[in-house]
Symmetry: C2
Amino acid sequence: NKQNQQLHPQDILKNQAEKWQISLTSEQFARKLDETDPLQHTRNEFYVPKIGTLPHGEFIDAADKSHTDPDKDCIYFCGHSLGLQPKRVRKSIDNWLKDWAELGVRGHVHGTNPFAKCDYPCIPALKTLLGAKDNEVAVMNQLSSNIHFMMISFYRPTKERFKILYEDRAFPSDGYAIHSQIRFHGYDPTEAAVLLKPRENETYIRTEDILELLKEQGQSIALVLLSGIQFYTGQFFDIKTITHAAQQKGCVAGWDLAHAVGNVPLELHDWNVDFAVFCSYKYLNSGAGCVGGIFVHSNHFDKQYPHLDGWWGNRYETRFEMRPEMDRDTGAGGFRVSNPSIHQCAVFAASLEIFEEVGIDKLRAKSKLLTQYLQYLIENEINQSSNNLKIQFITPSDPEQRGAQLSMRISGVDGKKLFNELERSGVCSDLRADVIRIAPIPLYNTFTDVYQFVSLLKTIKI
Amino acid sequence: NKQNQQLHPQDILKNQAEKWQISLTSEQFARKLDETDPLQHTRNEFYVPKIGTLPHGEFIDAADKSHTDPDKDCIYFCGHSLGLQPKRVRKSIDNWLKDWAELGVRGHVHGTNPFAKCDYPCIPALKTLLGAKDNEVAVMNQLSSNIHFMMISFYRPTKERFKILYEDRAFPSDGYAIHSQIRFHGYDPTEAAVLLKPRENETYIRTEDILELLKEQGQSIALVLLSGIQFYTGQFFDIKTITHAAQQKGCVAGWDLAHAVGNVPLELHDWNVDFAVFCSYKYLNSGAGCVGGIFVHSNHFDKQYPHLDGWWGNRYETRFEMRPEMDRDTGAGGFRVSNPSIHQCAVFAASLEIFEEVGIDKLRAKSKLLTQYLQYLIENEINQSSNNLKIQFITPSDPEQRGAQLSMRISGVDGKKLFNELERSGVCSDLRADVIRIAPIPLYNTFTDVYQFVSLLKTIKI
Ligand SMILES: Cc1ncc(COP(=O)(O)O)c(C=O)c1O
Ligand SMILES: Cc1ncc(COP(=O)(O)O)c(C=O)c1O
């Protein structure tokens, strides 16, 4: 409810525990949270892998699958990497295959989901998720390609202003894309790439440091290209404030929303974001390598930019006139290049239906509780116990500065060993160096998942 | 057999008719060709749309579906636009959905077709179809995007050499891509675009005219970018000769093989082609908007080119080390940008299996017969009849200079009306202006399809 939205999620949990007269750290509390969860039904929309079908073999001896029930759902905490399969995807694929079988090429404009317009059904839900206005969103290509198509238009370096500001620990593809664009324009990445780093002994980047850097170097920066949510630390950047500060200094502000879309509410139009790119296979649950998309602010619709053009950027109405010069579509649609893939869009549209039905605000409310609950249990049950295992969160503890994900630096025990033990106990998580990244997903994870995960952490012997 | 491959397809048909003592223009001849066709079984690999499921509604009054049997297979001649659905695609999609359901993110490296390598199973068949050596082929993006990624590396205009040679009637997306690249580099398309045109009163472009133009203007041309088979005229360019002549003049030679791959045998490596791009949804039958691909000649592997990079261009072995600088994969793989789409690759790989089983040489042999038979019947049964309808082929009549497609300029009757009548009689064809483009596809079309089509042309009243 409204009132709860003002409260810190820890206070909501505490109030609830008091009301129910149950300990915050009891299993009963987790079960009660699930029972009263208004989104409890959405888990049933997804296929949750069973413990028995997961490949423990990579990590442990196959003979040693002893202490877990293979028919139980696993604890799936990798929605930050690949979202689970929505059951309704099947129907959408069946429709496509039926149309293709019955209509052949005529399926381009006939049938249940005409191929030539199969990106369109994805747009309404995306507008809501991104906070976009008409024509500001297009579904096209994949994420890294979209970074390039956007940079071709929005990164216009000059001798005075040629730098790109991004994070030191940016996802490598973004770094490769940025370096290659800098080189393509004849500049040197060692001069042109400006990297944001956390302060010494801190794990994420302070907004004030970003603003300071923009103040100092802003006039030489052509483009600020950050991730909405940092893939490694889970930090949710203050997109509005940073965008404003960047633009005050004359920089273009673009955002990689791979880990933000479908995870946190976004208001890209109101925040005056210049452009953004995203993928659909993480929080949007559309399958490995599914189609990506772009956001372009309406401020830019009437301006002339360089483009790398393809026929799909032509307005639908005149596209098949095949004019010698392109009749560019309005806004983001004018950046499209190739005809949409029904393989991808059929799945994406089906998955997005769930977001339309549930709404991102409800998801975010539950997500904050889930992640806070996880943090609280680890702080209380692990870090304050006498076990060797200690966990440092490199993710901000402020719920407003993070999404679903918590990144946990493991100490006291070997991270890889802990990860393997979790894996064989039926927890699907992600390890990079000594950091385990997990994300309880409000659409399909439960409070009991979180409780059981922490119980495992407590009892696992390494 | 070997001997037949030397013969002109018209002679093969004639010899056959003599041997069987049947008239070349009889229905019996068509039936006998089908019965003795070594590829007759492959049609059963595909879903051929029924007359009754096709949308005649767009063209004719729904009440007027009288004289055709709705349960009969249509005559599908639009494989040049969207190939039919291979039945085995379903199994491949089912495997993917099962892996996703059971493995979640672990499906990236486990399961029947691990997501993170799902482009690899497509490579062996493509190498054969393209005539490519190891590492010369990558499956990525879609066609128009691939034109851009290739041009970023291979179109390096200088003041002295900045022009691009392509066809006047190139597919519009190629034209838009070329113009936008020219502009991006600061040149003017009206100066930099050199257009090949047929001679007056001719319909396709003579190789000698291309060579002449290269001789005259070659030293100012940076890139020759033609289609292997012209989408409109169906002309199969002499890729080897043109590539050689272009390179002699210091130009790079790139080819758009949208209409050539899976249609005609290609020997890109031996022909010394610099690069090529292709799509998978026409002759390769992989569904609307399915993934595209590139060919890069091994000559270029060790050279330094500008790139627009993404993490998928990193070698597989080190990709997840996420190094600050890319460790580029060898050859075409180093051009990849984003992680592959299992949605697309699962379908593409399944479809390509059929090509591996049948072999392009057998397909080409049948294709030449089908297309020649079509041409012969039209010349004899239509153009020499007293009907008003006259058909001019704008496609070369030399079988070596075309693939499956025949493009027919309609005169004597209204093209649009004829097209509509064909449509309602169960023929799926393609109309652009006064040209009907049809392609009998050796994998799923029959000699009887061709015979019946020409019978319809003879009897249709407009
Ligand atoms: C010759 C040619 N080039 C380019 C394209 C555009 O393909 P895409 O939409 O996959 O980029 C097509 C599509 O039909 C084509 O036939
Ligand atoms: C933040 C971020 N950027 C870029 C990418 C690369 O995505 P793609 O392979 O779809 O281009 C990813 C993929 O996980 C990502 O998380």
